[in-house]
Symmetry: C2
Subunit: 323 residues, 2 copies
Amino acid sequence: MTRGHLVESRHRGSVAVVDTDGRVVLDLGRVDEPVLPRSAAKALQALPLVASGAADAAGLDDRALALTCSSHSGEPGHVDRVDAMLASVGRAEGDLACGASWPVGVEAARDLARSGHAPTAVHNTCSGKHAGFLVLAHALGAPVDGYTEPDHPVQVEVRAALAAATGGAPAEPVVDGCSAPTWPIPLRALARGFARFGTGVGLSTDHATAATRLRTAVAAEPWFVAGTGRFCTEVMTITGSRAFVKFGAEGVFTAALPALGLGVALKVDDGATRACEVVMATVLARLLPDLDLTRFTHPPIRSWRGVEVGGLRPGAVWADLPS
Amino acid sequence: MTRGHLVESRHRGSVAVVDTDGRVVLDLGRVDEPVLPRSAAKALQALPLVASGAADAAGLDDRALALTCSSHSGEPGHVDRVDAMLASVGRAEGDLACGASWPVGVEAARDLARSGHAPTAVHNTCSGKHAGFLVLAHALGAPVDGYTEPDHPVQVEVRAALAAATGGAPAEPVVDGCSAPTWPIPLRALARGFARFGTGVGLSTDHATAATRLRTAVAAEPWFVAGTGRFCTEVMTITGSRAFVKFGAEGVFTAALPALGLGVALKVDDGATRACEVVMATVLARLLPDLDLTRFTHPPIRSWRGVEVGGLRPGAVWADLPS
């Protein structure tokens, strides 16, 4: 991060770009250390929902499927659709275990405050994933209570999907901000999971079909996977089905590039969102060089008066890599 | 930053603790590299305002003086007092060059949204510093226009105060988020500036008197230097006049410990507020061991449901230091 003629702040991290067998195309940093994938794994967590037939049984459309993979901004369009997903299986906001939170979208939060209403669990950025868990619980005939516990039938399915895609048995989980389990996975294995998510290679037929369905849904409705002005929405509006990208808390980011047969996983050591976005854009710009992603690889920093006073840019290590 | 049994994210940085001559008591990292002090230098930037007699001429009380050193939350009590400071020299919100911004205090921003009003430059977290600049401009008979330009009489005074306290000639400035200049200063020199701010040793008589006045004001009215629940306010409510601490953007923090004759300056490489707060609390806990600062050195991370799922803690390097 630069300000005027100076480098003001620096971020460090690790990146893995691998194929469906986990062969490394690009690696920087410590790609064999486990990271917590947080929301960057949501698309893999949604595989059992679709593969089981639960999504079809509940009539989930592209927008609903995109929401199951989303970290949405809590805008009214997101909230209304999550409410509808819950209603489709006879559930409601009170069944969500993610906890109430103000929308992560700054404008959405202000609009909610202006309306005089308090936020609920549906406004939580993870409510789409949780609604998906409840749709799956319904199809499995499993109880709602405890659906975020690692030994609940929903999470047993989710863990199996993560293990199958990433090619290893995820270790002991910890608790995500939304109270669901998040399993530590080495970056290289996480990237392989997304290479497989992008191609179906190495997945079961049911999971491969589910992955295609989820990618198609997100490519068609990228607003529902994040929201207005957000990185994932804006970037996938440009890439369309050529790339699936997903942000996670604490500086994690994943991507699938179906035509190239590649998956990407990265972690910024310090957890900064601004840094993981710049690095993901830099990786995408290398892999899809016909696209202009400059506003994501080199976003400006502005004063409160709107004057450009600095910016973010990829670190020097990128300039030294073979193209 | 830990989550469950895992370290999820890591921050790096540098810390200097020095005496009034710049002799190092503790140093970690790169203490001779320039950093941008941003808002962590506000107390030094306020020295000419008091030393010139401008503050007394305008009748600024402890609350107003604390605001001149502040990065306030934009709560109504802050905003009203900044308005009064401006009025005391015949100025108003439209004269501020900092730019309009939503309050940095999350609750204050929501309350403003609920009220149906838009934010102005008085809500900007730097409006107290800027009001101080305008009070000084008034006393100097200098124009309001261009008061944030490095060659304006106000900024010439500010630069001279920074140079005198830190013991060097600050280099070419860059533009802060509030449009004022911020001059790069090595951490060790910045720490010396705060050792001198805390003791008056090495400052001119006028600046030494001004420093005492500003420290006394902030110790008496710590809510006005930050706001409800904010680190600087909470910590100085505990330390009283034993420590002056000031946050700056992009992971900078400064402190003065008058009785010990020490100054502190630190920078987290990646700019994270959560990390610079933990490190400042860790330094204070070493220097003032009778105080319990555990909730600042080891703050919990909670899920949206309020359950403790992890926490922040000082890095292993601290455990290896002699006490």
